[in-house]
């Protein structure tokens, strides 16, 4: 069966003067439709780079990336924009709603760029807002909503375009723990309804809400599997320590 997301031997190398930094150092992974995957790692692990590449915001230095069977690893700026528009829904840490647009206009943005006509835009935006329970706030400006509500609006925006993958980058980072939990529960619910969710975080307590964890360290995958395995939540060195003198597997 064809994977929804498939990275094969992906390298991302940044040149910093004389030195070259391997942000991604030979990463291969595959994600299937309907999965809920958390990509975890401390800062500098390469998870942001991974998120940029999976999100078609950046291209790998080498290796291939297939999204929905399409090779997107060598695409130009505008082609990537089209792929993002059609296949990806972004949820950001800072919500990133446009302050001058109303809630509904914000949710309609991806549809606007997809060239959907006005009547359908309104209908689909309202439906997406209905899913996050904020339909009655559609005329408000983002600044009139609480942080949790704003994040739900951004989820509605991600859903409106009916994407294949929902890509959430530290979605609870700016929220208090209670609203953070609400947002996570909501992502789980979306996944239960069939959406593919990829969550990027540094926080293990959040990562364990996913079904599967991919752990990155120094640009390499050090764990990829069930979220409840202890190896999912610690670095390679820590795991060694936990095992004492034992052999890591």
């Amino acid at each position: 069966m064809e994977h929804l997301i498939e990275l094969r031997d992906v390298y991302k190398i940044y040149r910093m003067g004389e030195e070259s930094v391997h942000a991604l150092d030979g990463v291969s992974l595959a994600i299937d439709p309907g999965e809920f995957v958390a990509i975890v790692g401390s800062s500098g692990s390469g998870k942001s780079t991974a998120m940029n590449i999976i999100g078609c915001l950046d291209v790998p230095t080498s290796g291939t990336y297939h999204l929905g069977g399409i090779d997107v690893s060598t695409m130009e700026d505008d082609q990537q924009a089209e792929i993002r528009n059609k296949m990806l829904g972004f949820i950001f840490q800072q919500y990133n709603l446009i302050p001058k647009l109303t809630v509904q206009e914000n949710v309609e943005l991806p549809l606007l760029y997809a060239g959907v006509d006005a009547a359908q835009r309104h209908e689909r935006a309202l439906r997406a807002l209905g899913r996050v329970g904020l339909a009655e706030k559609r005329k408000n400006l983002p600044s009139q909503l609480s942080g949790g509500q704003q994040q739900r609006v951004s989820i509605a925006r991600a859903l409106a375009g009916n994407p294949s993958v929902i890509l959430a980058d530290e979605p609870t980072g700016a929220l208090d723990s209670r609203t953070g939990r609400e947002v996570l529960t909501f992502l789980q619910q979306l996944n239960a309804e069939g959406d593919t969710v990829v969550l990027i975080t540094h926080d293990n307590s959040i990562a364990v809400k996913a079904k599967r964890i991919i752990r990155l360290q120094d640009g390499k995958i050090i764990y990829d599997g069930n979220a409840h395995d202890p190896r999912a939540v610690v670095s390679a060195e820590e795991y060694q320590e936990i095992l004492g003198e034992g052999e890591p597997t």
């Binding site: 505008d78 993002r84 528009n85 991806p110």
Partner: protein
């Protein structure tokens, strides 16, 4: 991309930061207002001049003989009979001619002296009865104009302007007598008001038979003639006919001077057009400065909204979407500035009309600065164009932003 939303966004951001918007648009406002004022004044001036020429007689051709040609001993000359013959020969081009002899001399009535009054010697053709209009534009109010009998018999009769009729005769001048350089003249007609009925104006005139005027002057020949062409369009040909005739007689172009009103009007109009073009060009510099102001503020706006650009790109906005958003915004800003400039220009033109009317005391039918529709349309178009032109560079900068850097921007 969606024009409506970009347009609404632009209006919204203009309204949320009014002071900044005003300063941004100031160059455009001043430039457009200046263009409107200049075109209005120019247009008003042209209309005013055309009206004045129409009053004076747009078909008028002035002929002045300044010498004799062919050396000092030459006896070459033209007389009124030659001129009459010319009119008879070319009825399709020339409809009339009259000698025009200016006389210097004191006008008296009783004990009153009128030193500023102009006295002209003319023939009966000076006045066209069918149109009830003299060559200099006046109509006859009462009485009659000079006739063939008056002119051929050198009768001491005169037609006076409105000023004298009111001042000297209290509006009851017919049959009364005044003296010019001591010679008595009987008033046979009064002309209607042409200027403002003050001393020395176009209403302070006397017309007498031309040979009487020559006698008063002690001159032996007529050096000045007024012709009427049959219409404005035949004016140029009529002028040619007269010049031909004069050249045949004098064999020297420098001994006479022929000028048609139509030609003069054309010359003045083209001079005015040139002047206006220069002034508009100067005003256009302000538009250029305004455009640079818009470019500056758009560059600031792109920087301020880097994150928004990143978000829009992450949601699927292509380069052209971002570019057109910012171009529409720049265009809207300058268009609003243009509209304000147009309104301001029209108001200023109105104020200037009143000021000029007050200063020149011409009243309501005098000078009116009228904004032209073309002027308004062109300056609006130019202001939008300036916005788009100067908005392009910042818009392109925004369009080329890398979405990752833009999203991370604080």
């Amino acid at each position: 991309m969606n024009f409506g939303q970009s347009f609404r966004l632009a209006i919204k951001s203009l309204r949320t930061s009014k002071m900044r918007a005003l300063l941004t648009m100031l160059g455009i406002i001043i430039g457009v207002a200046a263009v409107i004022i200049i075109t209005s004044l120019g247009n008003g001036m042209k209309n005013y001049m055309n009206k004045q020429f129409d009053q004076l007689g747009a078909n008028l051709i002035q002929v002045q003989v300044t010498g004799r040609g062919g050396g000092t001993m030459s006896s070459r000359s033209v007389d009124p009979a030659d001129m009459y013959a010319l009119v008879d020969k070319y009825p399709g081009y020339l409809s009339g001619v009259s000698p025009y002899v200016r006389t210097v001399g004191t006008v008296r009535h009783g004990s009153d002296e009128y030193t500023r009054t102009s006295t002209y010697g003319v023939s009966e053709f000076y006045y066209d009865a069918s149109r009830n209009q003299a060559m200099s534009g006046e109509k006859l109010e009462t009485g009659r104009f000079l006739t063939y009998i008056d002119v051929s018999r050198r009768q001491n009769v005169c037609v006076i302007g409105n000023y004298l009729a009111q001042e000297a005769f209290q509006g009851n001048a017919l049959g009364k007598t005044l003296t010019i350089q001591g010679s008595p003249f009987t008033v046979v007609g009064v002309l209607s008001e042409k200027a403002d009925s003050t001393a020395g104006s176009g209403d302070d005139v006397i017309f007498i038979p031309y040979e009487n005027a020559m006698t008063l002057n002690g001159s032996g020949s007529v050096n000045f003639y007024l012709f009427n062409s049959t219409s404005k369009d035949t004016s140029a040909s009529a002028k040619g006919i007269i010049e031909n005739k004069l050249f045949k007689v004098f064999q020297d172009k420098d001994t006479y001077f022929v000028m048609s009103s139509a030609e003069m009007l054309d010359a003045m109009n083209s001079m005015l057009n040139t002047l206006m073009a220069i002034l508009i060009l100067i005003a256009a510099i302000s538009l250029l400065v305004g455009g640079i102001g818009i470019m500056n503020i758009m560059l600031v706006s792109v920087t301020e909204r880097t994150r928004e650009i990143g978000v829009r790109k992450s949601l699927g906005a292509k380069r052209k979407d971002i570019r057109s958003q910012f171009i529409i915004e720049a265009g809207t800003t300058s268009a609003v500035g243009g509209v304000i400039g147009i309104v301001l220009g029209i108001i200023m033109a109105n104020i200037l009309t009143n000021v000029i009317a007050f200063v020149l005391k011409t009243g309501n039918d005098g000078f009116v600065a009228i904004p032209t529709l073309t002027g308004i349309a062109v300056s609006f178009g130019v202001s939008v164009g300036v916005g788009i032109l100067f908005g392009y560079l910042p818009a392109n900068k925004a369009a080329r932003l890398n979405p990752i850097d833009a999203l991370r921007y604080d």
